[in-house]
Symmetry: C2
Subunit: 187 residues, 2 copies
């Protein structure tokens, strides 16, 4: 099993019901379901366009309990858009890490273990949508950022996780990343 | 996305606290956590040797809510051991399907959708252990079946699933299998 390290640069919560934009907090206790008070918190969520195999609004298990982005991929997206920076708040991210540039490529089933003993299970790529692009457009005086974001975010927007083991998470934590190996591809 | 079909040949519950061996039932209502009354039922479970990154006994999210095996792979295991058949009861399986021979290779993140609208999310291979081998040994008068089972079960023992959408599951149901494509391998 391949192992990597990353550092937590920011923890964020989306607790304003009027927006998906998140705000920074120094630490939190993650629990089954994610971060209490966050708009994506819960063991269940409602099916949307990402789950076309279920009728819209069906109660489904929530695999998007936390979203994680990386400093390096935010920089790549900014370069791609020609802007100076992209804040994780604008992505609605819950965690921003550094030191692990290819975060979005982390395979589903990989784990992130925190110093507190808490653990996250990667449930795959966070597919880009247009909402973050609209936020980026608000902050920079350049045309078409909203439309360009979908392409800029492809394979760079980070991952979604579920909480496997509850516990404390704090800015400055070093995460141990345990890559899930593809040991069962279809023949 | 690749799609396949399979048929439910048996549904089983392990509700005898003295054994992991399961018994057949004609139908059940699967719910978040699996099959109520089954030994693997629950949103959480306790870490064991399969999760060496956590202290043994830690409460963790339960990704092994249901185990599924296939008629075809049970036959392959039987051939490998030189016995006439292997019953899903002896594996402690909850579901046996037919018509989808490479079940164990189904990638993590794939879905199985039932006619009722219920859905299962594949969480990877069910790693072989020695307990089913001991059960098989009880039923056949041949030496070393317990030891041989670990090898015979490799890549053939089926998968573990979590319940994504609750609902009815019945023997005779046709399952739609939606393969998760490996769109994010590490570079």
């Amino acid at each position: 099993m391949k192992k990597y390290n990353a550092n937590i640069e920011a923890i964020l919560i989306a607790d304003n019901p009027d927006t998906f934009v998140s705000r920074r907090i120094p630490r939190t206790h993650i629990t089954l379901g994610g971060i209490e008070g966050d708009r994506h918190f819960g063991i269940t969520s409602l099916a949307d366009s990402r789950q076309p195999m279920y009728p819209r609004g069906t109660t489904i298990f929530n695999r998007r309990q936390l979203t994680i982005t990386s400093v390096e991929e935010c920089m790549e997206m900014a370069d791609c858009l020609g802007v100076d920076y992209i804040d994780p708040e604008w992505l609605g991210a819950n965690v921003m890490v550094s030191g692990f540039p290819n975060l979005t490529n982390l395979p589903i089933g990989s784990r992130m273990i925190l110093p507190s003993g808490a653990g996250l299970l990667c449930m795959g790529e966070n597919k880009p949508c247009t909402l973050p692009g609209e936020q980026i457009q608000v902050h920079f005086d350049q045309p078409n950022l909203t439309a360009k974001f979908v392409k800029a975010g492809f394979k760079r927007r980070g991952i979604v996780c579920l909480v496997e083991v509850p516990g404390l998470m704090a800015v400055g934590d070093e995460i141990n990343i345990l890559e899930n190996e593809y040991d069962n591809p279809m023949q």
